[in-house]
């Protein structure tokens, strides 16, 4: 299974995402923002970082880069697409996911190991979790406050499109503690926290068992490998 990771100018977690895909057992393929070529991948990850220095709005310029028209076409045909952090912002700006992401309500950058609840396992990126499972993965952002108008929010909640919710602490003022979303079809998922930073013992969040031993993010990449094999 080939999973592509797009590098935009200013992406910084693209290599971590590629590594996470390899650790999950997939073939990781580097994709370039300026191409119109998805290199025959079966799924796509939009990584974290600060594409175009967050100029204009986070993710806004990247959302209009050449490869994104191919990503939107592929997503509309059902290809699994995951946006992490800045990648989530790009998906929102590309109108593949609802709502918007604004500066954290407390005005400062936040970095913490964040507890989340998996709210929806009916997507190719979350099928490896159990409904309601609590996971801990790193979070690091300055503009992660999820907002949407009342009607959109009601629709997201009513249709079960909230994929992940912050637990214990709402780190950025996100409405309804929303940490991640899916689209109606389920193939497109975006979240602010970073699953690709919790895939290998020794380099993840602390757990009660041992320091840095958390690997709760790995299931996201294993999920899509299983989903693309089955489809």
């Amino acid at each position: 299974m080939r999973v592509g990771v797009i590098t935009f100018p200013g992406s910084l977690d693209d290599r971590d995402a590629l590594r996470a895909i390899r650790l999950a057992g997939g073939d990781a393929v580097s994709l370039w923002h300026g191409d119109h070529d998805l290199h025959g991948v079966d799924a796509i990850v939009l990584p974290g970082g600060f594409s175009y220095g967050d100029y204009l709005r986070c993710g806004a310029i990247a959302a209009h880069s050449p490869i994104m028209s191919d990503v939107v076409d592929a997503a509309n045909k059902g290809m699994p697409v995951l946006g992490i952090c800045n990648g989530f912002q790009v998906l929102v700006e590309a109108h593949l996911l609802a709502g918007g992401l604004i500066r954290n309500d407390h005005g400062t950058f936040v970095r913490r190991d964040q507890k989340l609840r998996v709210e929806n396992v009916d997507t190719p990126w979350t099928s490896g979790y159990t409904q309601g499972q609590e996971i801990t993965i790193p979070l690091k952002n300055g503009e992660g406050g999820f907002i949407a108008d009342d009607e959109t929010l009601r629709q997201l909640e009513g249709d079960g499109l909230v994929a992940f919710r912050y637990l214990n602490v709402n780190p950025n003022g996100s409405l309804n503690d929303i940490a991640g979303l899916r689209n109606a079809r389920g193939n497109v998922v975006g979240l602010m926290p970073h699953p690709e930073h919790a895939v290998e013992p020794g380099f993840g969040p602390d757990t009660p068992a041992a320091m840095s031993s958390g690997t709760d993010g790995l299931a996201m990449f294993q999920s899509v490998l299983r989903a693309t094999v089955l489809s």
């Binding site: 204009l56 709005r57 806004a60 209009h64 929102v92 700006e93 709502g99 918007g100 604004i102 500066r103 954290n104 309500d105 407390h106 005005g107 406050g145 907002i147 949407a148 108008d149 003022g173």
Partner: protein
């Protein structure tokens, strides 16, 4: 060359943390008559040639589609610079 000015503001209903922090700083000056600050964006767009109604139509399109995100912002003015 002529210019078109586009102004974009965060939606009234949304929290503007940068504006709020600036307002707090400004309250250290003066007699406390400053109560709120909201920070928006001003784009100065240079046009090659004459500005026609079609130019302004095109600017309105990119203002709505690229320069602003209607989930979080409003385009509040598009005008030709003096």
């Amino acid at each position: 060359m002529p210019k078109v000015i586009v102004e974009v503001m965060p939606k009234e209903v949304l929290l503007d943390p940068a504006g709020k922090a600036t307002a707090r700083a400004l309250q250290r000056f003066g007699d406390g008559e400053i109560t709120d600050v909201r920070i928006g964006k001003r784009f100065e767009i240079t046009i090659d040639g004459e500005i026609t109604p079609k130019t302004l139509e095109h600017i309105a399109e990119v203002a709505k589609g690229v320069l602003s995100n209607d989930v979080i912002e409003d385009v509040i003015s598009i005008r030709v610079a003096d």
